[in-house]
């Protein structure tokens, strides 16, 4: 039944994409004046804004670590971001997502460069459309780069999932609710996985295919992240280059 509604005989999905297509992604860097680093991402219908503050002094002070920086992360959904209004108080889901986002970003950062300090990452979902944690990670990593935090690499993220017998890239809201499996993956480009979750059922073969597909998705996303940063920091030079050509 799911196959009929979510993927048609031509391999087209409910939003017109093929099985290997990402939703349109647009990242804008440096959108929040007061923040040390920031990014706004439109990922399908997701609209997420991320601010980074720090490295700065830790409050409360007992949280400070002598040998490295503390990374704090808050994922929060605006009350108007969902179909039915979301209570503004943090839910258990948001607490968990805050944790996995933090843990997916942490390995990419060289936190030992900032002992006794804290870096705060605030991920605010203005409109949610399935895959908001991946979109949040993508924007957060770009915002951390914008803040000039020392990092090994950007973290990119993308989900893959199963609709009936088909393994598809980048699950949207409808596919998340009606599909059979959703597996968000994050990897810094150095081929290390920092986020892996699964919600649904996959066979061993399907799991391998899903993981590979998600990694390919991450690589596509990585290029878009780099482009967004290039545009902010070297935008004029890029135009010059084109003129020369």
């Amino acid at each position: 039944m799911n196959e009929l509604t979510l993927i048609d005989e031509h391999g087209k999905r409910s939003d017109g994409r093929g099985i290997d297509d990402l939703r349109p992604i647009k990242i804008t860097v440096g959108v929040i004046k007061n923040a040390d680093g920031s990014a706004f991402i439109e990922f399908g219908k997701n609209k997420i804004i991320v601010a980074v503050y720090g490295p700065r002094e830790v409050h409360p002070k007992h949280m400070a670590l002598p040998d490295r920086c503390v990374l704090r992360c808050r994922y929060h959904m605006s009350p108007f971001s969902t179909d039915t209004r979301k209570n503004p108080a943090p839910s258990r889901r948001e607490v968990e997502i805050s944790k996995v986002i933090r843990e997916s970003l942490e390995p990419s950062l060289i936190l030992s460069d900032y002992p006794r300090a804290v870096i705060d990452v605030f991920v605010e979902v203005l409109q949610a459309d399935g895959g908001s944690r991946c979109a949040g990670i993508i924007a957060a990593s770009v915002a951390l780069a914008d803040a000039g935090i020392n990092m090994r690499d950007l973290v990119s993220a993308c989900a893959a999932g199963r609709l009936g017998d088909n393994i598809v890239l980048d699950i949207n809201d409808l596919e998340d609710k009606e599909g059979d499996a959703d597996m968000p993956v994050a990897l810094p480009n150095i081929e290390q996985i920092t986020l892996l979750q699964l919600d649904g059922k996959l066979s061993s073969n399907q799991f391998n295919e899903c993981l590979n597909k998600a990694i390919q998705g991450c690589k596509l996303v990585y290029e878009i992240q780099k482009e967004a940063l290039m545009k902010k920091y070297f935008g004029n030079e890029m135009e010059l280059k084109e003129e020369v050509v």
């Binding site: 007061n34 923040a35 108007f80």
Partner: protein, 274 residues
Amino acid sequence: MSSSKRSTIIVEQLRKQQMLEALLRGKRLDGRNFDSYRDLEIEIGIIDKASGSARVKLGNTEVIAGIKVETGEPFEGLENKGALIMSAEVLPTASSHVEPGPPDEEAIELSRVVDRGVRESKMLDLDKLSLIPGKIVYTIFVDCSIINSDGNLLDATSFAVVAALLTCKLPVFVVQDDKVVNTGDFMPPPITTIPISVTAVKIGDSVLLDPTMEEEACMDARLTITTQSDGDFVALQKGYAGPFAISQILQSAEIARNKGEEIRSRMKGLNKTG
């Protein structure tokens, strides 16, 4: 102080002194007149999932308001009226001084003052938003997120709320066999007037409109005046420890009416195009 987020206390004190000296010469640090606002940008319909939404940029201050509509029980004592519920959160993205967590006293004052302007002006005719009198009414949530804060959150938030309400499309609910059914149709909101809030601050003997965060850091007192379309006052809020002279209050009230009318005409333009 936004422009000095990495500066020391000494730099902040020098900046304050510079501001006070400029004010004595009749100037503001950003070159504005005492009674002029920063650039005001209003963008509507930015959140598809909301029944109405607006992003307001007032200089570097940025606020998003979104409206969600549900049905529910009326408030006690207002059994035949729709319920209007407003909240505002200063997001931790807004400045390095904001801590995540439940709204603090300033955020609560903010949403209450904005709420008061809309409620007391009867901008929305809540009598028209009752479904089964005494039992089920429209519940209209207006939630505001402050994305970046650079002073005068009160006016920026109020403008965002008013713009979102003016341009929202309410789902049409009908009563069938004592049950409420969503018809899938939409209707314009029952608007009666447009409340506009104008905030003035007193620094020394000067009264300035639309303060930046730097100016707020130096202010002695703050006064927010909300007028409706016919020029009547519907809400006032004086904040901070310092006093206003009576003449300053009367003068501010007159300025608020004129300035309010100017901003109101921008809002009316939204309603036509939106």
